[in-house]
């Protein structure tokens, strides 16, 4: 049990996918203008990331390793992500209508998203088991959501701040992100196993 908690913490905070892993930065920047959009993306990630990291683990275990096709990993992963995203988009409403209504718009975007693929590959690097993959995906999604929500709320504040003209908009957002990532470095060594 404590192992799973550690994985969640590690994925969400110590190796946060946006500020320390950097791979989640771009989609986060694109979606932080409005709170409703940001929460929508967060929900999408919370659904999608556990799903893809698990399927990545399974694909590896049953398909790529037995067939010795590890060199196809990237290709297979990319298509899997798209496949899952599209399946969810078209058939998600059968599982949960309310959730589907919130996340449907984001699924095509998520299908071609670095964060999703990145999580899958990171998970593979850690060679997690099935359950650990699930937890890792959840942790990453939590970390992503946390920082995205922080940034969205901060963006609103930055908009009204008297930022020097050359730094308005993206530059000050990136500086903020840098400062947040500095703060996150305080967690280093928290989980060293």
């Amino acid at each position: 049990m404590s192992e799973f908690i550690l994985i969640i913490f590690s994925a969400a905070l110590v190796n946060n996918i946006i500020v320390l892993g950097i791979i989640g930065t771009d989609p986060a920047l694109a979606f932080m203008r409005r709170m409703d959009v940001a929460t929508g993306l967060c929900l999408t990630m919370l659904v999608l990331l556990p799903l893809v990291s698990v399927s990545g683990c399974l694909l590896d275990y049953w398909l790529l390793v037995p067939l010795q096709l590890e060199y196809f990993q990237l290709l297979v992963f990319v298509s899997t992500v798209i496949l899952i995203a599209l399946l969810l988009k078209h058939h998600g409403h059968r599982i949960n209508k309310k959730l589907d209504a919130r996340i449907n718009v984001f699924l095509p975007l998520a299908g071609i998203n670095t964060t999703v693929l990145g999580t899958m590959l990171l998970n593979q690097e850690l060679s997690n088991t099935f359950l650990k993959s699930l937890v890792f995906g959840m942790g990453s999604a939590l970390g992503f959501s946390f920082v995205l929500l922080l940034m969205t709320a901060a963006f609103e504040r930055l908009e009204v701040a008297d930022v020097p003209v050359p730094f308005r908009g993206l530059p000050i957002v990136l500086i903020t992100l840098a400062l947040i990532s500095m703060a996150f470095m305080g967690f280093s060594g928290l989980i060293n196993q």
């Binding site: 409005r34 599209l86 078209h90």
Partner: protein
């Protein structure tokens, strides 16, 4: 070999699904209406389109930028930028400059009743009949200035509109040339 076949199958499935999920047009139409709702509806055509709705369509289909509406000014640009997730820009000076809301005023001593302004008005805010003097319905006038140019006797001037229904004497400083 099996691996390649599996991948091939995967590719086919995905392409079929991608083909089926091309962007839907109803969403676009909805967006046009939302954009149109943000525009000031002066129907002045300063943006280069014959009315606000066409401009909204142009914005949604990416043919026009969001900074072409002088009557809406910065406020409209900001709202559009927020809606469409774009950067806020300054008004494009090629389309005119922003100013206070104006309304047309017909000098009834001079008006000859030629109905040219009535034809020009996009919102039917001028009433009158041929050879009768015309007058502007203050509440309906959008200040588009489209009636100013057609008037053969130059009897239409744009006044600054002051809230509260009062059409207060125009201040020469605030008056913008038609």
């Amino acid at each position: 070999m099996t691996g390649i076949l599996i991948l091939l199958a995967l590719t086919v499935v995905i392409s079929v699904m991608l083909y089926n999920s091309r962007s839907a047009t109803p969403e676009q139409e909805k967006l046009v209406d939302t954009v149109d709702a943000l525009l000031p509806q002066t129907q002045c055509g300063k943006c280069g389109y014959p009315g606000c709705k066409p401009y909204a369509e142009a914005i949604v289909s990416n043919r026009a930028d969001i900074n072409q509406c002088p009557p809406g000014g910065r406020n409209t640009i900001r709202q559009l930028a927020n809606l469409l997730g774009r950067e806020i820009k300054d008004l494009n000076p090629a389309h005119g400059k922003a100013g206070p809301k104006m309304i047309a005023f017909i000098d009834e001593d001079i008006c000859i009743g030629c109905v040219k302004c009535i034809q020009a008005c996009p919102v039917d805010a001028i009433v009158g009949a041929p050879k009768q003097m015309h007058t502007v319905i203050t509440q309906a006038c959008t200040g588009c200035e489209l009636c100013v140019a057609p008037c053969p006797v130059d009897c239409i001037s744009m006044l600054v509109f002051v809230q509260g229904g009062r059409r207060v004497k125009l201040d020469p400083v605030m008056r913008t040339s038609p």
